[in-house]
């Protein structure tokens, strides 16, 4: 009788499997800090905000009871919230439109050789590097309702006659104009740098070929450069939109939501209600309204970045 006992066979290791396994371990190790960071400092506070929005939690207390959706019902009925919601979209849309248009213009200007180009690039980056609190203090003076330097210049230039004055921060519309202006000033350098990188990456041969084919400036920009820059342009827009949508610093430092709570965006209103006013539940419910839009934006951003990667 022949013994047919099974003989353990050593697994055949393919070089590809080993590399893939070590790749996987490396991936886990590399991502662990980021995942931990997100779990502790992003996911946890987010879940906490969601939880608090369903309670009557207040700033000075750790005790609360569940109130269901009543915070959401109350804020939806509030004219201040409705205004803030509208302002958030206006603020985001108008400022991003301005940033992309002006960023394109600046990036194209910076592509050309001119004397002092390095200094110009440095100066353009300054607003991005300056702390927003300090910068806004400067803008506060520029837009001050009594001492606005803009008004004084316009007065001297004869634009404003006797008794005419722009109350930048005392008027609902002008207040939003001031807020958008500062935000555009602040975001423009980032957008310019990204767009400049995009423009630089377009091979010169493409431009030369288009010139030989008779394409004019506008045709070159809209039919060649912008389509080629679309992935990077999308990333710049989406990043700017997310950043703008969630920003409260300019509003809080410049108008504090005034006059009569008419220039709030959702983030500043959430801070006012939840932290200053002490109604944490209500503040959290205002903040939660940011989430659906942000989730959609995040998905679009990730898809477009993946597409850019494929391209």
């Amino acid at each position: 009788m022949t013994s047919t006992a099974a003989v353990p066979v050593a697994p055949v290791l393919h070089a590809g499997d080993t590399i893939r396994r070590s790749d996987r371990r490396l991936g886990v190790v590399m991502l662990a800090p980021a995942v931990t960071y997100i779990a502790l400092l992003v996911a946890l506070p987010f879940l906490l905000a969601l939880f608090l929005s369903l309670t009557n939690s207040s700033a000075g207390s750790l005790e609360f009871s569940f109130v269901g959706l009543s915070n959401f019902r109350a804020v939806i009925a509030s004219p201040v919230f409705q205004r803030a919601l509208r302002n958030t979209f206006v603020f985001t849309f108008v400022s991003q439109l301005a940033v992309i248009v002006l960023g394109n213009v600046l990036a194209r200007a910076l592509m050309r050789p001119f004397f002092g180009k390095t200094l110009a690039r440095f100066l353009i980056l300054m607003p991005w590097a300056a702390p927003i609190s300090l910068a806004t203090l400067g803008w506060l003076w520029i837009f001050d309702s009594t001492f606005s330097v803009i008004n004084w210049v316009l007065k001297v230039a004869g634009w404003l006659g006797p008794g005419q004055w722009y109350y930048w921060l005392g008027d609902t519309t002008l207040g939003m104009v001031a807020i958008v202006t500062i935000h555009v000033w602040r975001m423009l350098p980032f957008s310019t740098v990204i767009l400049l990188a995009g423009l630089t990456s377009i091979p010169n041969e493409v431009r030369e070929a288009s010139a030989i084919d008779g394409a004019g400036t506008l045709a070159r920009i809209f039919q060649i450069e912008i389509p080629m820059m679309r992935p990077i342009l999308t990333v710049a827009v989406l990043f700017g939109v997310v950043f703008t949508f969630t920003d409260m610093s300019v509003v809080y430092l410049l108008t504090r939501g005034g006059p009569y709570n008419s220039t709030h965006v959702l983030a500043s209103l959430a801070f006012q209600d939840g932290v200053l006013g002490g109604d944490v539940g209500r503040g959290a419910s205002v903040a939660i309204f940011l989430v659906p839009v942000l989730v959609v934006l995040a998905i679009v951003m990730l898809r477009s970045s993946r597409r850019a990667e494929v391209v």
Binding site: P259, G277, S305
Partner: protein, 470 residues
């Protein structure tokens, strides 16, 4: 099986979604828990910077005598409440937290200071009524804070301009402002804002509109904590503001921050503001041209004959329950009130003692202490040691107690009043009516609805009384 690229892409997705969510989460910075033998005090950055130069060494010297290492951290006035919120959430931070407005929202997390209050009353007699009404909750019977000082809020007027229009002693009633506005425009056409009463989302405007409301007979709550904002008296006050705005103010007052009325007055761009003496001290320190014309009047009288102004600042020192140095903290608060004279002088007469008896001459019998303290305070105001010209320019401040009151008048300060203050319900009511964004009645109804919501919420937490709202 995942490639490195897939890993990175999935990881990026997580980062992206997380970053999006981050916007909704709070950021909390809190110092480490304290060690024994230490006392950590959170203090505002005083509107008169000289005070901080007195307070910090005072606290450290006191600690040195007791063998306690005292740390004083200052924050801007706007960060006092957010900082308290963060420390309560973390259950860690300072031992003593100073509020410049209402500390009542934090009552649950502070210890009862009844023993400190009793000690102080035995030493100096009762504190001024508005201090009691700002630091004691009659509903929960808790002494949640101790006040060492309060600040009067007089009217500041430009004497030269008001002399030109025939009122050299300034306005006496609210109607005087309406009368004066067009006269100021004629006498000083270069002035941008004839009457500078803020209607914006800031601390000074919050007080100014309360003054207007009270002097017209209205209030947010009655003495028992019932919301009574919806009233003919409120409507009259709001209609008055609309009238005053149309004849004497501009949209600038809708955008003012805490410093704006000071700046406008010091630049001679307005003839009347409501403010403490901090703006005046700034004018003195900088030798501004306005200084010679800088004069004060008491709170204005309304058509009802009521003459009231909110305190400009009311200190409220609390000791957190999480503090491990509660006994030392209590001792410090007593020592701070012992030094009421130095505190008033350190602030260049900005701070007024909450315990008048603490400013009494040494050796004064208990029954005479408050009187003696008041006399000392009057002596400082009648002859300002900080260089007023004439020296009695601040004399009226010595008589400011009868026309000064607390937030929450005619009731006690409470968390609901605090939330209404901090979310600008009243300033919005006045501003919306003044600018025509809403009719006076609609503005009042909107504010009343919000006030009732806020009061009801705090009643459910059993921290505010009342319930028979109008």
């Amino acid at each position: 099986m995942h490639t490195r690229r897939q890993f990175v892409v999935r990881g990026t997705k997580l980062v992206g979604v997380g970053a999006a969510a981050a916007a909704t989460g709070p950021t909390i910075f809190v110092r480490d828990a304290k060690a024994a033998g230490q006392l950590k005090i959170l203090q505002w950055s005083h509107f008169v910077p000289a005070y901080d130069k007195w307070f910090d060494p005072f606290a450290k010297d006191w600690g040195a005598k007791k063998g306690i290492e005292v740390t004083v951290d200052h924050v801007g006035f706007a960060d006092v409440v957010p900082r308290a919120t963060a420390e309560v959430a973390a259950q860690s931070g300072h031992d003593i937290h100073m509020f410049i407005g209402l500390a009542s929202a934090f009552e649950e997390h502070v210890i009862d200071l009844k023993d400190v209050s009793t000690t102080l009353e035995k030493k100096y007699g009762k504190p001024v009524e508005l201090a009691t009404r700002s630091t004691y909750n009659p509903f929960t019977r808790k002494q949640f804070a101790i006040s060492d000082m309060w600040v009067p809020d007089p009217g500041n007027y430009h004497k030269e301009i008001w002399t030109k229009i025939g009122k050299p002693n300034g306005p006496v009633t609210y109607d005087d402002l309406v009368w004066a506005a067009p006269e100021v425009k004629k006498a000083a056409p270069q002035m941008q804002i004839p009457i500078g009463i803020g209607l914006s989302q800031d601390i000074d405007s919050n007080m100014a509109v309360r003054n207007m409301l009270w002097c017209h007979g209205g209030s947010i709550q009655d003495k028992d904590g019932n919301v009574v904002l919806n009233s003919p008296e409120t409507l009259r006050a709001v209609e008055y503001a609309k009238k005053l705005y149309s004849v004497g103010m501009t949209q600038a007052v809708l955008s003012w921050n805490a410093a704006s009325n000071n700046q406008a007055f010091n630049a001679q761009e307005t003839s009347y503001i409501l403010n403490s003496i901090s703006a005046y001290r700034t004018a003195q320190d900088n030798k501004l041209p306005v200084l010679d014309h800088y004069y004060f009047v008491p709170a204005l009288k309304g058509p009802t004959g009521i003459q009231l102004a909110s305190e400009h600042v009311m200190s409220g020192y609390v000791i957190w329950k999480f503090s491990k140095n509660q006994d030392a903290a209590k001792e410090f608060l007593v020592a701070l009130i012992d030094a009421s004279r130095e505190s008033m002088l350190g602030s260049k007469l900005y701070n007024f003692p909450s315990y008048y008896g603490a400013a009494a001459e040494a050796g004064t019998p208990m029954t005479k202490k408050a009187e003696s303290g008041a006399a000392w305070i009057a002596a400082q105001c009648n002859k300002d040691p900080f260089g007023s010209n004439p020296p009695d320019k601040l004399a009226l401040l010595a008589k400011s107690l009868p026309w000064s009151t607390n937030l929450g008048y005619p009731g006690y300060a409470n968390p609901a009043e605090g939330e209404i203050f901090d979310t600008y319900v009243l300033t919005d009511m006045f501003a919306k009516a003044a600018t025509g964004a809403l009719s006076p009645k609609d503005a009042m109804m909107e504010a009343s609805t919000r006030a009732k919501e806020i009061f009801n919420k705090w009643r459910q937490k059993k921290m505010v009384g009342g319930g028979k709202d109008k």
